[in-house]
């Protein structure tokens, strides 16, 4: 297994403001987590928080080690709840989208 994995990550619904005001990112992250297990979405979230997020307001993205309420996670255009949620093991080239729900009208 190669040491790294390439992914597309996208932030929308205002979350891009927490990530240098850029929606689309191509990232290269370790293919396994510190415990040696294959990188899953839980590890991706931690990794993004530590490596990609410059904004100090971490609680606007994570809460209790997962994404905060009001954020949908889409894996290759499907709700992550259809894919195993945080346990989904990432595949090279996967596209993961984080969507903050809007409330205005």
């Amino acid at each position: 297994m190669p040491d790294t994995i390439d992914l597309k990550v996208e932030f929308t619904g205002g979350l891009e403001l927490l990530f240098s005001n850029q929606r689309k990112h191509r990232i290269t992250m370790p293919s396994s987590n510190p415990k040696g297990r294959p990188a899953n979405v839980a590890y991706l979230i931690t990794w993004l928080c530590d490596n990609l997020m410059k904004d100090p307001r971490k609680d606007m993205f994570v809460l209790d080690d997962s994404v905060r309420p009001g954020i949908l996670v889409l894996i290759n255009d499907a709700d992550w709840e259809l894919e195993g949620e945080e346990k989904y093991e990432l595949q090279p080239g996967d596209e993961v989208v984080f969507v903050s729900t809007l409330h205005g009208g």
């Binding site: 905060r68 949908l72 709840e81 809007l102 205005g104």
Partner: protein, 310 residues
């Protein structure tokens, strides 16, 4: 009394002719629209265009609910109001516009903000509800009331340059019936932190962005109201036969983002959640808890500042 020879009146064939001649609507669909009662909660950036196109299409009864008055800062996007009607209640202002567009619709005004106490009794007077409000508090309340009264909910939102739309409780089924569509709590079991919630006043909004979402709400409402038992043959999936599955229906989220490529994206979300507080067999939310006022939606959403419920 003599039996009516024509199911619609003469002027209705003329007014609705351009949609009547389409197989997706037809006489059957036009009569369903005429017999339909639709409630629009919030007559702002979403509710104005949604009301215009639903009134235009000939929905029989259109309910408008809003406790706010028109402000000048609304007018760049709230196209059913007018400069002369600044300070007027929004339902009154919109009704003046809608009456002049289509006087043959029966308009009901609900000149106040929605409360848990009133929700059940009002929603029971309608067949379908549009959530055109602007706060999580009202979004949870409207969804719960739609589950308890068995109404399909067309929910949309917009902020800055983006919009989202989702059709919930479609088809509408009682709590515990897995063949009903998911509700707002199935998708968002916990409310977002209050400090993450931006209003259009705080975050800003581009007029056509919220306009597009409101018009699409009207379209989804018309699709639900005119749908026959069987979907038309030209429907969406790659299947080569018309088999209908009895699987638990999923919701689809439509996302719009003005400066993104592509601008629109459709995503399949989940079906009903087995432990949903509103629509599952384990539901803890009842008509009684709403009408008694024992459910505090403001506290649930952790609003830090006092807000109007709507």
């Amino acid at each position: 009394a003599q039996p009516r020879r024509w199911p619609l009146e003469k002027h209705e064939y003329k007014r609705y002719g351009r949609q009547l001649i389409m197989p997706e609507v037809g006489l059957h669909g036009q009569l369903r629209l005429k017999n339909a009662r639709v409630l629009i909660v919030g007559v702002g950036g979403l509710g104005c265009p949604a009301a215009a196109y639903l009134a235009g299409a000939g929905v029989g009864t259109l309910g408008l609910m809003d406790g706010d008055t028109v402000e000048e800062s609304n007018l760049h996007r709230q196209i059913a109001h007018s400069t002369a009607r600044v300070d007027m209640n929004k339902t009154q202002s919109a009704m003046e516009y809608l009456q002049s567009l289509n006087p043959h619709v029966n308009y009901n005004r609900h000149e106040f903000h929605l409360t848990p106490q009133k929700a059940i009794q009002i929603f029971e007077q309608y067949d379908l509800v549009l959530d055109c409000t602007d706060h999580p508090t009202s979004r949870y309340l409207i969804s719960d009331a739609c589950i308890l009264t068995g109404k399909t909910l067309v929910s949309a939102s917009a902020l800055k340059t983006e919009g989202q739309l989702i059709v919930l409780n479609n088809p509408p089924r009682p709590p515990g019936d897995a063949l009903g569509g998911p509700c707002y709590r199935c998708i968002f079991p916990k409310p977002p932190p209050a400090e993450s919630v931006l209003s259009c006043g705080e975050g800003g909004i581009l007029g056509p962005v919220v306009g597009v979402m409101g018009v699409l709400q009207a379209l989804e409402a018309i699709k639900v109201l005119t749908a026959r038992a069987q979907r038309p043959a030209n429907g969406g999936d790659w299947s080569t036969n018309g088999a209908t599955s009895e699987a638990a229906p999923k919701a689809t989220l439509l996302m719009f983002s003005t400066y993104n490529t592509p601008q629109f994206r459709s995503v399949r979300l989940r079906s009903r959640r087995a432990d949903c507080a509103a629509c599952s067999a384990q539901s803890t939310i009842s008509r009684q808890s709403l009408t008694s006022g024992s459910l505090d939606y403001v506290a649930f959403c952790g609003a830090t500042a006092p807000i109007n419920l709507l």
